[in-house]
């Protein structure tokens, strides 16, 4: 049998990864207070603008795509003769 990686089969490892991810998010928000956000537009001066904008964009994208799917989705063999 050839060797296999199974690192993510262990729920503990997935949990660790997720915790690391959440810690990184919090640190990013804290880090913003140490740098001067010299932006091109006034919105950039709101604390956490990029975090909020990234999150909202992503959610909107997914929900809009779900609506779009209702309009454009056909069966896989739609174009076959």
């Amino acid at each position: 049998m050839k060797k296999e990686l199974t690192i993510f089969d262990n729920p503990k490892n997935v949990k660790r990864l997720r915790m690391g991810f959440f810690v990184a998010l919090v640190m990013l928000l804290i880090a913003e207070s140490f740098v001067e956000m010299h932006g091109y537009f006034s919105v950039e001066h709101f604390y956490g603008f990029y975090a909020v904008y990234g999150f909202i964009s992503y959610v909107l994208l997914i929900f809009a795509a779900k609506v779009l799917r209702k309009i454009i989705m056909r069966k896989e063999d739609y174009y076959d003769h």
Partner: protein, 590 residues
Amino acid sequence: MIINMPPPALVFILGAVLIPFIRGKAKAVYMLAIPVVVFITLLNLPMGNAWIVEFWGYELIMGRVDKLSLVFAYVFTIMAFLGVLFALHVKDNLQHVSGLVYVGSTLGVVLAGDFLSLYLFWEIMAVASTFLIIASRTRASREAGFRYILVHLIGGLFLLAGIVLYIQKTGTIAFDYIGLTGVESYLIFIGIALNAAAIPLHAWLPDAYPMGTPTSTVFLSAFTTKSAVYLLIRTFPGADILLVIGALMVSLPIFYAVLENDIRRVLSYSLMNQVGFMLVGIGIGTELALNGAVAHAFCHIIYKALLFMAAGSVLQMTGKIKCTEIGGLYKTMPLTCLFCMVGAASISAFPLFSGFVSKSMIISASGHEQIFLIWLVLQFASTGVVDHAGIKVPFFTFFGHDSGIRAKEPPLNMLLAMGIAAALCVGLGVFYQPLYNLLPFPVHYEPYTGAHVIGQLQLLMFGALAFTLLILSGYYVPEVRSRNLDADWTYRKFGRFAYKIADRGLNALNRVSERILMRIIKGIVSFFKTMAANLALFVSVNVWLVLGYRGKRLELKKARLYDDIFQGTLPIGIGAAVTITFVLLMYVLT
């Protein structure tokens, strides 16, 4: 020494012709040597015009060498090396030959200083890339290839018409900045924009690119669209319409990429989205924005090829490439997975990866010019990239649900090509100064400021947070086997429908005139086809004889070629028609 070298385009094209006659290890060395030789030639080229040829009283410039054309020539040659290395194990000579002819014609386009040599290489590019699409030799790929070449020949005719009017107006075939001013400029613009997959002339790209073989799609991803980007930078910088097209291109394809099931089609939509960033940069038109467009093209060619290589490796080793059929492949393909994630981080513009140092120039340029709406759209699109290319592609391929497939890593040459591409992605992201030095304008830009790094990381990571929450709560778009309608519907379904209506309604009225017209058209078509078929047969039979085909196998090959040409599955007939039309036009107008 350099002056005595043939132009890079011809080194590739003539070099490609010899490939079928070389065997074994010598063949591998020979194919890898071609891009290396060209790269050394490029490094030693003096600025200015080289390889000037007199032709019918016109001056063909096969080597316009300046900073803009050089940086594109460099990256195309690097890409050629990676593509050849990745495909080194492939036995099919058709793919090797058409791949290198494709690269050569692209270099011809990039280095062309006049419209005639540009058009010549432009058409070779279209035909050579078609062979890469039909190389998988399935019915679906043949049909997609046929649609592809038709669309590109129509685009080529727009370009040709524009060129003819341009030459008539200006009296010269040389070109540089054109700008959208008259009919001829719009025709040229349409011809180039089609190759850049500009919306709404884009449908050929997600239609055809996923049809290639695991290795040929890697070639396809690099050359056609980015040579069009190069031409737009040269001829139409600052055209406002590019802002609109670019904004549409960065945003619309990401919705399709979210929905699409076929990983290579996801990457095709993602390719459009990335070209959209470049078009926005060209539309802004400032030095910073144009530098950004060039830098982004450079980085994008490498990381997009890397992503297509990872997808190609998966396809080759598992025979599957749909999200619904794969998953959990990291267990037995950890290296491919790692390389794919480097590509994903680069396209997502993570700090320390190549996309970060190039895309941010374009976004900053939009901020610098205070175009708020475009700036917002670009930031939105950046989050969209994180979703489909940064997370979806690696997640559903290598993690996600375990498909139970236990495929091995791909052969060494494929791993090497991915490894080099991944190293370049990190290298460009960390040591970006050499790239900045190659850009057409002097660079006064620092990508790694505290504010920029923190802002970008927040954008990306909180996007990823949204993904995590949506997946955990089950709200993420489920993977479904499906076909999503795009603009190609107009010519794949509606076109057929409209034809039927017209056929029934109008036929009665002008049956007579149509019969005459049809007879003439049929005559012309069969003339070109017979001519092309005979020419192709003559050339091919000799080649096959040399290659050792005899008796029944030769007969079979002959019959297949003849069928292909007459059923229109090979683009030769049309290519010949276009070439002859062009020559006729030359005579009529001069």
